[in-house]
Each structure stands twice: as structure tokens, then as C-alpha cells.
């Protein structure tokens, strides 16, 4: 770790719709170090997928529009590249794995054809060499009888196996950065455990960086080095993983932690849900987007949207009242088990 691989600055993405302009990503700034795993946590519509699709330049334009920002990948601004140059990076240096393994593979091409495509295109391999490498990749993600299965079609694979094929494809050109967009959400827990196990192992073997998008705080707790929490297009809190769980300093993060039942907790320890609904992304409030649902709100929150403020070591929170959150959150969460992590 140490060198900055990806540096995203003030990224804004909008979509023009019949009902007005949807502000999906609203000035997102973060960076990713080499070898680091960054978790991007948020609910539907929080902008976590859109921000990553923007980084990959996969936003359909129109109706989409990148209103502002820079995406520096190894010092090069991806938003300024031509389509052909971007194609050289996509799948080669930055790869993406999508949520739904059932629809992201082409049903009429064999698995082998789909994996070798990228190898021939980006690495200039000939057919034989690419096929050999494809078989190796399938073995790497624990698919039995890899050589034979290259000639199978996606429907002959189960959901978990398809997701492993997607990961093999993502890794085919040894990318420096793998963006995984809810890769285990559609899968059962035992299969999810298989996939996260493989990703952790491969990350260590290949030394790449990972951005893992998810709504599941449980999955990310065991995977990430650092977490960005997103809410209606803003990063509202960012911290190293242990710090975030032990010492959450944004009311939304506290709300998320209070909403989820834990397997290691007894029955009916009352959940504290976040009341209400997220704001409409067409008419975002001028103040804090979490105002309507927040227990700590004051007049100031209504008038001024808080920026990310440094609240600890590598820990930022976008809340005017983070000190009040610090004092009251343990009572809200009713917790006795978590100790603040040593810095």
C-alpha cells in the first residue's frame, strides 16, 4: 500500500428524465491506494453503482451527463480520454464484475469464447494460448474440469459458478483495479462465502486493488480495509473498517448499524430502524440530505449541507453534530460489545 491508484475528485453525474434532472452523484471525492480494498456501502439510489459506472465511463450519454469532476487513474484523467483509449483501459487495467450473473453473460456464446475474447483483444494472444489461459483462470476460481467446461454455455452453469466465471473474466487481463458491483447479492450465503473466499485469496496472490459495492454491512466487514458510506449521491462518512464499525460518527451509519439484526445477538433485541424514506434525487434539499430522517437535526442542517469533516485518524464524517453522535450512539444502538479500535 501507499501509492495512490485511483483519485476521484468532485465527481457529479446527472440524468435528464421526464420528471427533471436526477442528481445521482453529487460531488464525490475519494482515493484508493494500491492493494487496498475499498467498500462502497449504501442503499438503492445512493449513487454507489452510478459513481463506479462513471469511473468506467459506462454511463449512457444522453440521458446521463458527467457534470463535473476528475477521475485520475495512475495520474491520467479517465474522463478526458477518447473512446478508443478508454477501451484499452476497460477490462484491461480496470475490470468490473456485475451483480447479476444470470444476465451479464451472453447466453449464445460458450464460456470459453467469452473469456478468450478479452485475452485476444487486450493481450494479443493467439487462439490456443488464450484457451489455455482461460482454462487456468477457471481453475483459479475453483471450477472443476475447467478445460471441458470451456465449451459449455452459461445456462449449463449454476448461479454461483456463473459469478465465478464473471470473476475469472474480470481477472483475465490481471487488472490493477477490480470493481465488484454487488457480486454476491444474488447468491445464497454458502455460495457467497465461496466467492468472498476466492476474492480474498486472489487479491493476495495478484496484489490488485478492489472496490466492492454492497448494501450488506456484514459482507463488507470481513473484506474491506476502508469503507465509504454513501447516501443520496454523497459520501457521508469514510473511515478504516474497524474504526467505522467501532466508532460511527454519522447518524446514517449509526442508523444502518441499528437496522440490521446480527446472528450473534439474541432474539428480539429491538431493531432501531431509520424512519422515513430517502429524499427525491430530483429535488434534493439544499441542506443535509439526511435531514428528514435524522435524530440529531437542527436549524443549521436545514440551511447548510455539511462537508466531510475530519473527525479522527483517516476518519471523515459529513455531519455538523458528530460530537453529539459520538456521545449518544451507543445508547441508540444499545451496544455493549464493541470497543473502539486502537488507532
Amino acid at each position: 500500500m501507499g501509492n495512490i491508484l485511483l483519485d476521484v475528485r468532485n465527481l457529479r453525474t446527472e440524468f435528464a428524465t421526464q420528471d427533471g434532472v436526477v442528481h445521482a452523484v453529487n460531488g464525490v471525492t475519494f482515493h484508493l491506494e494500491e492493494g487496498e480494498t475499498l467498500g462502497l456501502v449504501g442503499e438503492s439510489g445512493s449513487g454507489k453503482s452510478v459513481s463506479m459506472l462513471t469511473v468506467m465511463r459506462l454511463i449512457p450519454m444522453p440521458p446521463g451527463r458527467i457534470a463535473s469532476g476528475e477521475v485520475l487513474f495512475q495520474g491520467q484523467d479517465l474522463l478526458k480520454l477518447g473512446d478508443e483509449e478508454m477501451r484499452q483501459i476497460r477490462g484491461n487495467k480496470i475490470a468490473m464484475v456485475f451483480q447479476d450473473p444470470m444476465t451479464s453473460l451472453n447466453p449464445v456464446l460458450t464460456i470459453g469464447t467469452q473469456i478468450t475474447e478479452a485475452l485476444e483483444l487486450h493481450l494479443g494472444m493467439n487462439k490456443d494460448k488464450a484457451r489455455k489461459r482461460a482454462a487456468e483462470l477457471l481453475k483459479m476460481v475453483n471450477i472443476p474440469e475447467a478445460e471441458r467446461r470451456l465449451d459449455d454455455y452459461p445456462h449449463q452453469f449454476s448461479g454461483g459458478m456463473r459469478q465465478r466465471v464473471m470473476i475469472a473474466m474480470g481477472l483475465s487481463c490481471s487488472p490493477q483495479l477490480l470493481i465488484a458491483d454487488e457480486p454476491t447479492t444474488a447468491l445464497d450465503v454458502t455460495i457467497q462465502a465461496q466467492i468472498t473466499d476466492i476474492v480474498k485469496r486472489l487479491k493476495n496472490e495478484l496484489g490488485m486493488s478492489i472496490i466492492w459495492i454492497t448494501h450488506d454491512l456484514g459482507v463488507i466487514a470481513g473484506l474491506a480495509d476502508r469503507i465509504n458510506v454513501m447516501y443520496s449521491g454523497y459520501i457521508v462518512e469514510t473511515a478504516p473498517v474497524k474504526e467505522l464499525f467501532a466508532n460511527p460518527l454519522h447518524p446514517y451509519t449509526v442508523g444502518l448499524l441499528g437496522s440490521i439484526p446480527r446472528l450473534d445477538e439474541g432474539r428480539r433485541e429491538k431493531l432501531t430502524p431509520i424512519e422515513g424514506l430517502p429524499p427525491d434525487l430530483v429535488n434534493l434539499p439544499t441542506g443535509c440530505p439526511f435531514y428528514d430522517r435524522c435524530k440529531f437535526r437542527t436549524e443549521k442542517c436545514l440551511q447548510e449541507n455539511p462537508p466531510l469533516m475530519s473527525v479522527g485518524v483517516k476518519h471523515w464524517s459529513a455531519c455538523w453534530h458528530y460530537e453529539a453522535v459520538r456521545e449518544q450512539r451507543d445508547a441508540i444502538l444499545g451496544r455493549k460489545f464493541m470497543q473502539p479500535a486502537a488507532a
Binding site: Q194, L256, R262, L271, L277
Partner: protein, 348 residues
């Protein structure tokens, strides 16, 4: 709640309000015995002949006590939803009996069965697909009232408004259409519809899986409140063990059409006996990095076999880390190992 025939049920251990259901001899509101549901696979266009069966549910037995929540967990395709639907006779069972409030639903037909339906309801998984987009919320919730002749006219409207209030929606929404609501609000409408007929027993089939995390907690709390208020009995079907542990008194774990283990929530977590339960528990992530760091995972190899040709002997032996030779030959028996802890395994 007005129309119930009150008998005297044993006070449920949960401390919830008095359950208002009648029970059978062993104090259960629902007794399932050797329940099977096979779906035929046919071949041929005009003369269809049956070539095989999908054995979705293959001989399960359990009781549900009045006022309790029985959680049913398992992975996709294990037969948990089919179990829920077969209990409510949305699918007719292939074999076995479903004794509900002393009557065997599997043998009931027509009018008799229809009458029983006002005592048992269902909340569906997908709040987008389970509400008719052309009906107003008022009509959706009023439909069961009409079908079962419970209320008419002004009384009906009042009842619908009361139900909306009960599930935390504004009674003023009565003339709106489903598309005007968010996922969580739609799920509340589905719950109001299930409550309309004053049921004793509700099958909740993955009621929160389609919702966002912060909304899930709202619905879970609502279901718990309603249970206490109306003395409801739930069969709570879900794949998320953390949620099931939170809401259930007892938990049944299903694998490939069979229940492999059944016990109370605490015992299941603290002392799981079946190797599948152990693997399942170890695979559930816990939102705490300090715990995750130290946890040992049991990673199962391979995928769930097809329910058309389930493995001979114990169904789990193909993936079981503890399998011994007998597991390949003989199916283990469903036995009580003490204190109502049931398990189906040769090794434990």
C-alpha cells in the same frame, strides 16, 4: 378483533398477547406430518407422459404452537416457499397431512377450504408483483373483506382505514394506486391485506428480502408489533439467518426438500448439530470486523444437487465434511435428541 371463537390456548412462552387460535391435542395450531409436494416433469406435446418428479418437499413433519414464530431457513430451491404454499393449500400436497386448528386441510375442498382461508393468510416476497396495479389500495385491502362477507359499505371503508393505520400508513391513502408507494409501503399494504380477515396464522414468505436495509428493520418491527397486538402465529420463511434468528422462537433448517434440524433460536446458534446448519451459520457474515477477522468459515464445496434426483441416503452427503459410508446408503431418521431439538443426521 371481533369474530374469533375464543378457546383457551396454553399461554405461549414468548410473552406475547394471548393467541386467539384453537389448537389440537398436542397444543399446536398447525401440525405437519410427512408432507410431500412433487411437481411432475412431463414429456410429449399431445400425449404428455410423466417422466420424473421435482421433489420440492419430500416428507417433512413439524408443529407450530399458537403465538410463536417458526422460522424456516434454507437456500434457494430447498423447498421452503413450496412448504409455505402447500400448507396454505395454494399447492395441493402430494402426500401427508396438514392439520390446522384440528382440521386436515389436505382433505378439505371447495367451500369448506375457502372458509378456512380466513384463518390463514400469506404475505408475499415481492411487493411490486403481489399488488394488482389497477386496483386502488382501498380495493386491494377490501377484497378479502368482500370475499369472506366480513364487511360491506361504510363499515368496510372504516375497516380498511383502520387497517391502514394499523400498518403505519395514512388512512387518507385509500384511493391511491400501488405505483404511488415505495417498496416498504407496498409491503405494509400487503400486510394490511393479510390482516383484513383477522387471521390466526400468517405465512410470511421472504417478506423483507426485496427491501432496502433501513426499510427491512421497519417491517420486521411492524411484524413483531402486530404479533403481540393480535396474538398472531407466524411461519417466517427467509434465507437470511440473521433476520430469522431475530424474529423467530424456533427455527427449522431446510436442505433439498427435507428439514435437517429444528430447535429454538438460541440452541441452534449456540449448539448446532447438523453439519449443514454449522456450515450455514459459519457462512453468515457478522457486521463486525473484529469478529470477522477471527471467524473460521466452513466452506461447502460444490452446489446443491438437483431435487429431481436427490442423492441416495442422506441428501447432504455429497457436500458433507463429516460423511461416513452409511450416509451414502441409508437416509437418516428424524429424531428428537432432547428438549425438542430435532435433527436428521447419522453422525451427531
Amino acid at each position: 378483533m371481533s369474530t374469533e371463537t375464543q378457546t383457551t390456548p396454553p399461554a405461549p412462552a414468548t410473552g406475547s398477547a394471548q393467541a386467539n387460535a384453537s389448537t389440537d391435542a398436542n397444543g399446536a395450531i398447525l401440525s405437519i406430518r410427512n408432507l410431500k409436494k412433487y411437481f411432475p416433469i412431463t414429456q410429449g406435446i399431445i400425449f404428455q407422459k410423466k417422466v420424473a418428479d421435482v421433489k420440492a418437499v419430500d416428507g417433512i413433519s413439524f408443529d407450530v404452537k399458537p403465538g410463536e414464530t417458526l422460522g424456516l431457513v434454507g437456500e434457494s430451491g430447498c423447498g421452503k416457499s413450496t412448504t409455505g404454499r402447500t400448507i396454505l393449500q395454494l399447492y395441493r400436497p402430494t402426500e401427508g397431512s396438514v392439520l390446522f386448528e384440528g382440521k386436515d386441510l389436505a382433505t378439505l375442498k371447495g367451500e369448506e377450504l375457502r372458509k378456512m382461508r380466513s384463518n390463514m393468510q400469506m404475505i408475499f416476497q415481492d411487493p411490486y408483483a403481489s399488488l394488482n396495479p389497477r386496483m386502488t389500495v382501498g380495493d386491494i385491502i377490501a377484497e378479502p373483506l368482500e370475499v369472506h362477507n366480513i364487511a360491506k359499505g361504510k363499515e368496510k371503508k372504516e375497516r380498511v382505514q383502520e387497517l391502514l393505520q394499523v400498518v403505519g400508513l395514512n388512512p387518507y391513502f385509500i384511493n391511491r394506486y400501488p405505483h404511488e408507494f415505495s417498496g416498504g409501503q407496498r409491503q405494509r399494504i400487503g400486510i394490511a391485506r393479510a390482516l383484513a380477515v383477522n387471521p390466526d396464522f400468517i405465512v410470511c414468505d421472504e417478506p423483507i428480502s426485496a427491501l432496502d436495509v433501513s426499510i427491512q428493520a421497519q417491517i420486521v418491527n411492524l411484524l413483531e408489533e402486530l404479533q403481540e397486538r393480535f396474538g398472531l402465529t407466524y411461519l417466517f420463511i427467509a434465507h437470511d439467518l440473521s433476520v430469522v434468528r431475530h424474529i423467530s422462537d424456533r427455527i427449522a433448517v431446510m436442505y433439498l426438500g427435507k428439514i435437517v434440524e429444528l430447535t429454538d433460536g438460541h440452541t441452534l446458534y449456540a449448539n448446532p448439530l447438523h453439519p449443514y446448519t454449522r456450515a450455514l451459520l459459519s457462512a453468515v457474515p457478522i457486521p463486525d470486523p473484529l469478529i470477522e477477522e477471527k471467524r473460521e468459515r466452513i466452506i461447502l464445496v460444490g452446489d446443491v444437487p438437483s431435487p429431481v434426483n436427490p442423492p441416495k441416503g442422506c441428501r447432504f452427503h455429497t457436500r458433507c465434511p463429516l460423511a461416513i459410508p452409511i450416509c451414502k446408503e441409508v437416509a437418516p431418521e428424524w429424531r428428537d435428541v432432547g428438549n425438542g431439538h430435532f435433527v436428521e443426521c447419522h453422525v451427531v
